[in-house]
Symmetry: C2
């Protein structure tokens, strides 16, 4: 009779909350009820062999409650809000941030008002609504949805989880860098490859490693390679000095990075430049192939935007931006969640113009 099979179960804060002393929240118990962060970093032997990259690593953010890296910012914004008595959270999103916000708000017992472009996929809206969110489809597109969400947050006093503009979102996302560093045995990789839409994920990755540097825990940062879609590559075009090239936006299946006007574009460009990295762009077909490659050689399933990192790494290799012996981390940002047919959708949904009175009409009872 021995208790030895059960050594040292760790009841301290787990996942992202391990870094709470480096996050701008006060003392006291964590109120956010869902697990967040602590995603696996795996060294995929089969994929390494296939690519001839013996020191390749996959940081898999597809696991977790919301299926994407958008858990982290959601959790920190809601944690902060619960401490000040907030009852409603809002964000604009092309998909994953909205799903994470809807689920996180549901678990925390607060209301979510989500602004999406009018054309947002029905399947993603269904997931948001199954979690009880009010989903407002804004006819004027993502940028208008973003501005309206921000205006509504100010007007109604809602929590503003909009990515990039709420500094908490960057603080939350920097913890991915901390985890990579710890999971590699307190070592900084040579390269981190990151899908880029609005910009905060790659921006926070750089800031996380620079924070480690400022803490005296490392003396270098990895080169950041930002990956965009060929059909939506405002930052890659800027990077390569072609901002006014005639074909600006033909669209991409990777809705998570289909952002023609990135909110944090300037900062993302600066962060990548500072790291000595680069931007690349990959066609949809390369992302689809990368989905298959991740599944069949690493056991990881993801959506097109989630596979953009691997597709971008292959492009970067061909361009000579990454050497075979380097230690490379590919961030896989998310997988698609589904809610089956006939699931009751508690939340509401409306198509609106980008005006506050339209928001008030549907969400006014919450204000």
């Amino acid at each position: 009779v021995t208790a030895e099979p059960f050594p040292a179960f760790d009841h301290r804060p787990q996942g992202m909350w391990r870094y709470r002393s480096l996050l701008p929240i006060g003392d006291g118990p964590i109120r956010y009820p869902l697990p967040v962060g602590g995603s696996p970093l795996t060294g995929p032997a089969v994929l390494r062999d296939r690519l001839g990259l013996p020191d390749l690593w996959v940081k898999d953010e597809t696991v977790g409650t919301s299926g994407s890296n958008k858990d982290r910012a959601t959790a920190l914004v809601i944690e902060d809000g619960l401490r000040s008595g907030a009852t409603t959270i809002t964000t604009a999103s092309t998909g994953n941030a909205a799903v994470a916000t809807a689920l996180g708000a549901a678990a925390a017992g607060i209301r979510a008002v989500i602004f999406v472009p009018a054309g947002c996929a029905e399947a993603k809206v269904a997931v948001m609504r199954s979690a009880g969110a009010l989903v407002l489809r804004v006819v004027d597109g993502y940028r208008a949805a973003f501005e309206l969400s921000r205006a509504a947050a100010r007007h109604f006093g809602w929590l503003d989880r909009n990515t990039g503009v709420n500094p908490l979102t960057l603080h939350a996302k920097k913890t991915v860098a901390f985890e990579i560093w710890e999971q590699l045995g307190r070592a900084v990789p040579d390269v981190v490859v990151v899908p880029v839409g609005d910009g905060p994920t790659v921006l926070a990755m750089g800031r996380g490693f620079r924070e480690l540097e400022s803490l005296g825990l490392t003396n270098r940062v990895p080169r950041l390679i930002g990956v965009q879609a060929s059909g939506c590559q405002p930052l890659a075009r800027e990077w390569h000095g072609r901002p006014d090239s005639p074909v600006r936006h033909s669209g991409t299946i990777a809705d998570g990075i289909d952002v023609p006007e990135p909110i944090s574009g300037v900062e993302a460009l600066a962060e990548v430049a500072r790291s000595g990295g680069a931007f690349v762009a990959v066609p949809d077909a390369a992302m689809l192939a990368a989905i298959g490659m991740l599944a069949s050689t690493a056991g990881v399933t993801c959506e097109p935007a989630g596979a953009a990192g691997l597709a971008g790494l292959l492009k970067a290799r061909r361009m000579g931006l990454v050497a075979a012996g380097e230690r490379v981390v590919v961030l896989v940002t998310g997988r698609e969640l589904v809610v089956g047919a006939d699931v009751p959708l508690e939340g509401g949904e409306a198509l609106i113009a980008a005006r506050l009175d339209e928001v008030e009409r549907y969400a006014g009872a919450l204000a």
Copy 2:
């Protein structure tokens, strides 16, 4: 300058492998490359309030690489196989076990040959094939697929991951009970509610708690409530003394528990009886409602079979089987994974009769 923000990163075996001394594998490093186990147990405040169950807990097996609890058995069988040089694994499955096997085999660098009923959903087959599996659709249904998978394992010397019959699958699944006990602070809940198809999940849950008892770590086991679908409830009918009731199998949307002839049915009935528990059956509509309730009050998304536990708990409450003050754990077994359209499907697929020569025709090159 301090390293204090990064306390005690735990590089020891994580998740299921924390219990390796209680699993039938030898010493040496774990070779299975994907994370497995260690799923969250959350106390969903909003759901507790809604149901008037202040000590309700959700054990969320939807997180993780394969999106279901089928990770665990897959990992242990492959770990064991890698130690003896196995190069092919086989299983029959209605879905999630097959997906987990395909992904786990891909990551481990071995081949997966999956036997499914001919009518298996295209979407699930696509996930298996994206991971490189050979999927054989057996025209004679699940039971025939199961027998054929077993025969092929014997004939070709493949790893047999068939649930229930390979004792490793039960050892792996018992770790869910260990985790619940630890996550509750080394306490046994009053009731655990478990969806039941083939039977091993509920059987292993009971065995896990009984193993804790035999180790002297507890002196009681929880009552197990097994939940079946109204349209496929062979064990619930047996339990209630109606095995020959005229309507035997009308089917259910919950494919994960749509098993008319459960492999481990007798053992599951005995385990539930021994625990002082019961079987209940719930209609598809109740599972759909439970999916919505889990999303909107606990932030958890799942498939119909995954929500059967919560639906069954509501039924058990109405039947007086669970009291309001009891400590109840609901197991949420899985979510649906998707592979988007146009992803290249590396693996193969064929419709076959339940004969070994048919298997040899498609998989012979592997034998």
